[in-house]
């Protein structure tokens, strides 16, 4: 027969925190898997326009980025408020695109060079003038596959 013991005093046991690290580690793994490391620090305003017909960029390693937009507040004293081009971590001129594309291309495997894509991350308030210059520079550098970066939205007008 089972015996039931009754204790006179009931103490509330302290909650064990030993499993807390496990939970946090799980969160860490989730974030490590589902996010990507931010490779550049944005120095320009970059709110890309919305579009409905967007496609996902599949191979991130084949993509090089060109950011265009107004310099952020802390850079405006130095660089003004006109839209500027950012390559890697610095402001650049249109002429620098050629070298940038050349270095990016060199980093890729020879067989994958034709698949290289340039993603234009352009702020929606930019005028087309700069973008046109960049496009011409890309044509000259024969980086012809481009992607106009856009957010996916349900409706554009």
């Amino acid at each position: 027969m089972a015996k039931f013991r009754k204790e006179g005093k009931k103490e509330i046991p302290q909650i064990s925190t030993a499993s807390l690290p496990d939970i946090i580690f799980m969160l860490i793994f989730f974030f490590m898997v589902s996010t990507t490391i931010r490779e550049t620090q944005l120095m320009v305003e970059n709110k890309v326009p919305g579009a409905t017909e967007v496609k996902k960029l599949e191979r991130k390693d084949l993509v090089s980025y060109i950011y265009i937009g107004k310099p952020k507040r802390q850079f405006q004293d130095l660089y003004g408020t006109e839209p500027r081009i950012q390559l890697n971590d610095s402001f650049a001129k249109v002429d620098d695109i050629r070298d940038y594309i050349a270095t990016e291309r060199k980093q890729l495997d020879e067989s994958e060079r034709p698949k290289m894509t340039t993603s234009l991350k352009v702020d929606e308030d930019t005028k087309m003038g700069v973008v046109t210059d960049v496009k011409l520079a890309l044509r000259k550098a024969s980086a012809l596959k481009i992607n106009y970066s856009a957010r996916e939205v349900k409706q554009v007008y």
């Binding site: 030993a18 308030d125 005028k127 087309m128 024969s142 012809l144």
Partner: protein, 193 residues
């Protein structure tokens, strides 16, 4: 001395894990890069340039879209609202009633379809240097949507599936019937800047 018991204090472990978590939250981004894919035309050499000048495209085969520096549209010589652009582009590309002023059809052998009419229509897009990028993307988006809808309709009709779900060969066949050609002319600079 007695050995310490097996249990160790695991409380700081949580702190370390939190620290790592915060690091990853700050240093990474969620964003999946999405956008509209385009192919730029290569810079023609002199010989090609001469050839191009000889090759005149008939007016009825060109769907002209102009955007001025005030973000207004002029389509085939008529002002138009962006909301009507998609329908108009679709009608132009497909030319369902074989109208005289809409693009010619060329009968061609296409895999899966046999002898089919393919469109010779081209969309010509020209913007001003003062056009806003937002408007430009909207127009590009509408034009892409027009093609995508036509491709999808045809895929549904022929294969009973959405265009996205078809295999590459079938997609290519559909692309051949409605080839997506958006030619961009050198922008004007009327609006200044």
């Amino acid at each position: 001395m007695a050995r310490p018991s097996g249990e160790f204090n695991a409380a700081p472990m949580a702190d370390i894990a939190f620290l790592l978590l915060i690091f990853f939250l700050v240093a990474t981004t969620f964003d999946v890069d999405t956008g509209i894919m385009r192919k730029l035309p290569p810079i023609p050499d002199e010989q090609q340039q001469r050839q191009q000048q000889d090759k005149q495209i008939k007016e009825r085969n060109v769907f002209e879209v102009l955007i001025n520096s005030n973000d207004q549209l002029l389509v085939e010589g008529e002002p138009m609202d962006i909301s009507n652009l998609r329908e108009n582009a679709k009608e132009f590309i497909a030319n369902p009633r074989n109208k005289e002023d809409l693009p010619e059809m060329k009968v061609k052998e296409v895999p899966f379809f046999g002898q089919t009419e393919t469109t010779k229509g081209i969309i010509s897009l020209q913007n001003d240097r003062g056009t806003s990028y937002e408007m430009y993307i909207k127009v590009q988006n509408e034009l892409t949507a027009a093609y995508n809808e036509l491709h999808d309709d045809l895929a549904m009709q022929k294969f009973g599936k959405h265009y996205k779900k078809l295999n590459e060969e079938r997609k290519d066949a559909i692309d051949e019937i409605y080839p997506m050609i958006i030619s961009e002319a050198e922008p004007k600079n009327v609006g200044g800047n």
